[in-house]
């Protein structure tokens, strides 16, 4: 190898190699990010913007539920285990609140399966769990945007033939009336724990409303 070839090799090889290395590390980081979504920090605004359709066929946006305490759960109707467990837990928690408290909470079930979950199918599904539960769906793009707004992850996993399941973030988001993420409900926690978390969120919502009233008077 003469000097010229060596220089050429270094000149091409080193930048190409580092570019490859950088690309590889980026790719690895990205795939890592995909499998373990970023943690959603507490006390950060969350859940905006989105535009979806509810299970009664009405168009809704994040503004529809703004100013209210929300429970938000992503899933899909064909999910036999995790989603019914989460929704069943939400139903128990709502029943654990006083009726006027429960009436102040908007429980939202956002489908990550736009292909199969029509508003009509969602209607027959969510009402099985609790009469106040709201099912939301939309086009693939609308659902993707809603998931993004909640820093939520989902992915379609083929299971043979034309059947598939969705893997998805299974946390139950507790969003305050101020649109801040107040935390998550965990189906492994006793129902009274979740009830207490919601009461805290409702309490500060009432406090916020009282302050706003003070300011306006």
């Amino acid at each position: 190898m003469n000097r010229r070839t060596l220089l050429l090799a270094l000149g091409v090889g080193v930048p190409a190699g580092s570019a490859l290395g950088w690309g590889l590390s980026e790719w690895m980081l990205r795939s890592k990010r995909a499998s373990a979504p970023r943690s959603s920090g507490m006390q950060q605004p969350i859940g905006s913007p989105f535009a979806l359709v509810d299970h009664t066929g009405q168009r809704v946006t994040d503004a529809t539920y703004a100013g209210q305490v929300r429970l938000v759960f992503f899933g899909f109707t064909h999910c036999p285990d995790v989603c019914p467990t989460g929704l069943g837990y939400i139903a128990e928690v709502l029943d654990g609140l006083a009726p006027q408290e429960a009436a102040a909470v908007r429980p939202l079930f956002i489908s990550v399966d736009a292909g199969r979950d029509s508003p009509e199918l969602l209607a027959s599904y969510v009402t099985n769990f609790h009469p106040t539960l709201i099912g939301l769906t939309g086009t693939e793009e609308e659902v993707a945007q809603a998931a993004k707004a909640f820093r939520s992850y989902y992915n379609k996993v083929p299971t043979g033939g034309d059947s598939y399941v969705m893997e998805h973030t299974a946390s139950i988001y507790l969003v305050g009336a101020d649109d801040m993420l107040r935390g998550f409900l965990d189906t492994h926690e006793p129902v009274p724990t979740a009830v207490a978390k919601i009461r805290l969120a409702l309490g500060s919502a009432a406090l916020g409303a009282a302050k706003a009233e003070d300011r306006s008077s």
Partner: protein
């Protein structure tokens, strides 16, 4: 966690309620299912398998008149993400051990239920074991897990 301890502490009481015995020492307890819509095409059964015998027993799957087929699946929540895995090789219940099919974990998935499953209804699930044993377990459809030991009573 609390419930697990409770079930483990009171096996006799559980056995007298919603329990069935396949072969000496092997019990299925607290089998329950959730309401499900036939048009959605999936349903679930949860139960506990307790092996009081001296040999390990492998559950391979099952069948039921209310669905086209039954598969063993497992939900795994990693980070905050839920994934589902098929367990085609089945599940081994070690001697003296208990395997719990429970929400957000191992479950028996019913594929293509023939009709809607409604709370209060009951049906039979036949479990198939590797040693050739089969056993029919009564399953209760309920919104929530029936309290241990009272599964069939309400």
């Amino acid at each position: 966690m609390k419930r697990r301890t409770f079930v483990a502490a009171l096996p006799c009481m559980v056995a007298s309620g919603a329990s069935a015995q396949a072969q000496p020492g092997l019990f299925a307890e607290n089998a329950w299912s959730r309401p499900a819509l036939a048009r959605i095409g999936t349903a679930v059964v949860y139960l506990s398998l307790r092996n009081g015998g001296s040999q390990p027993v492998r559950l391979l799957g099952g069948s039921t008149p209310v669905a086209e087929r039954v598969e063993i699946h497992e939900s795994v929540v990693e980070g905050r993400v839920a994934r589902m895995r098929a367990r085609p090789g089945g599940v081994v219940v070690p001697p003296g051990g208990v395997i719990r099919f429970e929400p957000s974990g191992l479950h028996l998935m019913l594929i293509k239920p023939a009709a809607d499953l409604k709370a209060g209804q009951g049906f039979t699930l036949t479990l198939n074991f590797e040693n050739g044993a089969t056993f029919a377990v009564p399953v209760q459809v309920a919104m929530r897990e029936p309290a241990a030991g009272h599964g069939a009573a309400h």
